[in-house]
Symmetry: C2
Subunit: 527 residues, 2 copies
């Protein structure tokens, strides 16, 4: 079933000589499939096809694009068990996770299809003419969002479905009207090929233009650089490390024509534990956080890597319970030996810093690639002095910062880099007296959570998955939820344009029955 | 009235030793005022004050911010004739232009005040909890737009009011909730100081925090670099040359924490003249375009610098009439001897290229700094071969590209850099057979105009003033109209947050009575 080839549009090609293989972290062995890296000619061809496809795809109606997205969801489901098995074999994730992530991915595709079917997302804005205005007449002006052009998507390591080949970046770009070229993540190329085959089948069944989607194999540096520097590429989506994301941002910014890159990168997701909450519910929060820290072997962008609390009896009690809770959770398999090694090295690096002690670590037996969940501790003063302690350790890890007082806690927050999320664990009677903490936290994050855990990113309109740099490269956009489409569109204004030549969204009769802003009022009416 | 000092917040300071003077291009002499460049300490102080101000200003209500913007409009008007005289003395523009541009500037401030008073611009989006959802409950999530932080605005040369000290960038950033630091344009520092004094007065009268606005004097490179690289600055607005704008984009992209720059840069605004339109209305279009090319001494971002047409009798007739019309329009005074020199050098450079001929030039007597309006001509083949012919000549200049056929015309359009505007001059009976031209043009521009002139940028919700690079640095935003506010805001999500701690915009009762998206439906209702 796996061919090991690139999809250049609908054609499977493998003219190159360099090969890649994937790894089964559960069995701790290389997988059997041989994948061929895309050649420069194949890369060129994929981009040229995407650019050709754009000329027609940008004019496809919302209904047509919705059919395409729904068909992708159907074709992914039609791959059935084979796809789930491939996913588990290349990621080490358990079957339940595979099913859950597939459900999420299909839900995302359908959410964008619903958005397209409804149609108002283009933000049609109309100001009608005022012929007799003094000193000069006002011309008729109508604006709507239009797609940017071919978009390159870099699949993530940790979400082989939901943030990869047919994940949120691809779904949102296709919804916008942009052809997509995926750089398949090297840890799960087989899974990527199967998902790509579903997208290609869906494109053919719904009569999409050739080149609307391609799937390329290659190492990040060579293939990634070629794609991001290509003059016909107009935008980039990325999920991964700060180093990788920043390199792409730099490349894109240095182009003769700079292009936008939306990179969702590192985050340690601070959690503030207030004293009354710990006093009243130490067991509940210890259990919840042991679960959140270890979920998916800690390989979530929203993993709570930083716990912040005021020192005292309540905190001591909580850390004991956290230690006990961590001990009961069997570590999960990590994605790859390299990630497992980085995890262990990351912890070792932090443990050797001044003032760091261990408060929890899974002590049972672990098999290869199963990282032992670990929580360390340091005081606020040391944390403020030492930038090493601010680094993300990808995996089931968290560090507790024990603060002397609220002022120190606020200073710690204000010195943090940008974060995807910030969480407050609080009782109702204490939150009012800690408003400074909320203000400081809001400044540094994209999503604020009250009495919950940051893991679990709901796909809905009000989700913001992004945040101040380096959580994401542009805090003005989200990677999750239907608003993710706004990364790939630009407005165009039509002045004094004949009605029958306008896009349907802007015509007087409002044939698509969408909500529009007409003369500063939201309305469904025709003009 | 002019002190020559910097506004560091509300304080006038001039601790430095470097000075600048402005120039009266009409009299062709230096103006008397002496302006002192901001020192590094003063720059630091302005940014620190802006950052302090942000902590409170970001939480000001829309009503409070609207009062501030309306007060700025009032204080600008209160400066009366003195301000208009200063403007003319430092720009060479006639009094009518000064009045018109002041009206536009005040209109912009009031438009943002209206937007704030109405309040729905924050795009409040709410998804309520579903406690019994399977397999996991859905948490309550609420999202709205929040300000980025201190913004630096670079005033433009050609709009001392509307795109400078209190222009669209400043008005939109203040509306967003961001403190503003203006780098005053060196050609009209006195005008800038007077407008800054109005902003400071308005801030004091409406109880804005100290540091919400500062106005700094300096040369672009030193002062500009210090501001854009400052870690507390979170965004940049710029109107000017490609070279200047790109330098700021590069600086911002290279920061440890990259920040967004919205730069509105060069554009030659192509105009396609279709044959039937020229046949039927050659005189009308010749008169209209002679007026548009020479408006404001050609110093508009939307000046039509490129005319595209098919060769033939109709075109010959049109160019004769354009020549006659240009001859009747007395050239205006340009902003500065350096701009006048660049204009003449730019034309000379183009005239010496292969195949270029002159079809119109003002032949009457001109005084210093009054550029002779000029239209040159070249054929499509030469234009496609020679990048020099694509360069903008800032001033009353246009070049006509005579194309062999429609295919060549479309090729010319598709090879253009990104543009603010593209215009089609057409009769109804011919537009249907030229859809390829519209498609190609739409790909390259931010605003499409039918049977009109690109000069005249309406301030309204449906305006898009921006376009593919290098028309602007990010085609996803506009510099004109209330949507300009979206450059300076980022969304924040609140998950499971107590109602009374939410911003008013997201509270159950909808106390501000704004339009919100609740569970995917637009509504004014409470929850």
């Amino acid at each position: 079933m796996i061919t090991g080839k690139n999809y250049i549009g609908s054609q499977l090609k493998a003219g190159g000589t360099k090969i890649l293989k994937t790894f089964n972290p559960l069995l701790n062995t290389e997988n059997p499939w041989v994948f061929t890296e895309a050649t420069q000619d194949e890369i060129e061809e994929a981009v040229a096809l995407a650019n050709q496809a754009f000329a027609s795809y940008k004019n496809y109606s919302g209904i047509e694009k919705a059919k395409f997205l729904n068909a992708i969801a159907d074709e992914i489901l039609a791959l059935g068990d084979d796809l789930l098995v491939q996913y588990c074999t290349e990621s080490g994730y358990p079957r339940g996770r595979a099913e859950g992530e597939r459900g999420r991915t299909i839900g995302q595709l359908k959410a964008f299809a619903d958005m397209l079917t409804e149609g108002s997302w283009v933000q049609a804005t109309i100001d009608t003419a005022i012929i007799d205005r003094q000193p000069a007449p006002k011309e008729d002006l109508r604006k709507m969002l239009t797609p940017l052009g071919p978009i390159v998507v870099f699949g993530s390591s940790n979400f082989p479905f939901a943030f990869s080949t047919s994940g949120g970046d691809t779904a949102s770009a296709l919804a916008a009207g942009c052809p997509v070229i995926v750089k398949s993540h090297s840890m799960h190329i087989g899974t990527g090929e199967m998902v790509a085959s579903a997208i290609i089948k869906a494109a053919q069944k719904t009569n999409m233009p050739e080149g609307v989607f391609s799937n390329l194999i290659g190492d990040g540096r060579t293939l990634g650089t070629s794609l991001v520097k290509h003059p016909l590429v107009k935008g980039v989506g990325f999920t991964g490390s700060i180093k990788g994301g920043r390199a792409l941002c730099d490349l894109a910014a240095q182009r003769p024509e700079p292009i936008p890159v939306f990179a969702e990168m590192g985050s340690i997701n601070p959690v503030v534990l207030l004293p009354n909450a710990l006093k009243k519910n130490s067991q509940k929060w210890a259990t919840a956080y042991a679960g959140s820290i270890t979920l998916g072997a800690g390989q979530f962008c929203t993993n709570p890597g930083l716990l912040l609390a005021l020192k005292g009896e309540e905190l001591n009690d909580f850390t004991e319970k956290l230690d006990q809770a961590i001990e009961t959770i069997q570590p999960g398999c990590m994605l790859h030996p390299s990630i497992y090694a980085d995890f262990n090295n990351g912890i070792a690096k932090i443990e050797e810093q001044n003032g760091v002690s261990r408060i929890a670590q899974f002590k049972g037996e672990t098999t290869p690639n199963h990282g032992a969940s670990t929580v360390l501790k340091v005081d606020g003063k040391e944390f403020l002095k030492n930038a090493v302690l601010h680094n993300e350790v990808f995996g089931p890890f968290s560090i507790l910062i024990e603060c002397e007082n609220e002022a120190e806690l606020i200073e710690v927050i204000s010195k943090l880099e940008g974060q995807l999320t910030g969480t407050i664990i609080s009782e109702e009677n204490e939150i009012e007296s800690h408003k400074g903490i909320i203000g400081a936290l809001q400044n540094r994050v994209g999503r604020l959570i009250y009495n919950g855990v940051p893991t679990g990113v709901e796909v809905c309109a009000s989700m913001l998955h992004g945040g101040p740099y380096p959580a994401s490269s542009d805090s003005r956009y989200t990677a999750v939820g239907i608003d993710a489409v706004y990364r790939w569109v630009r407005p165009v204004s039509f002045q004094n344009w004949p009605d029958h030549l306008l896009p349907a969204e802007l015509q007087n009769e409002n044939p698509l029955q969408i909500v529009r802003t007409v003369n500063n009022k939201l309305t469904l009416s025709q003009i």
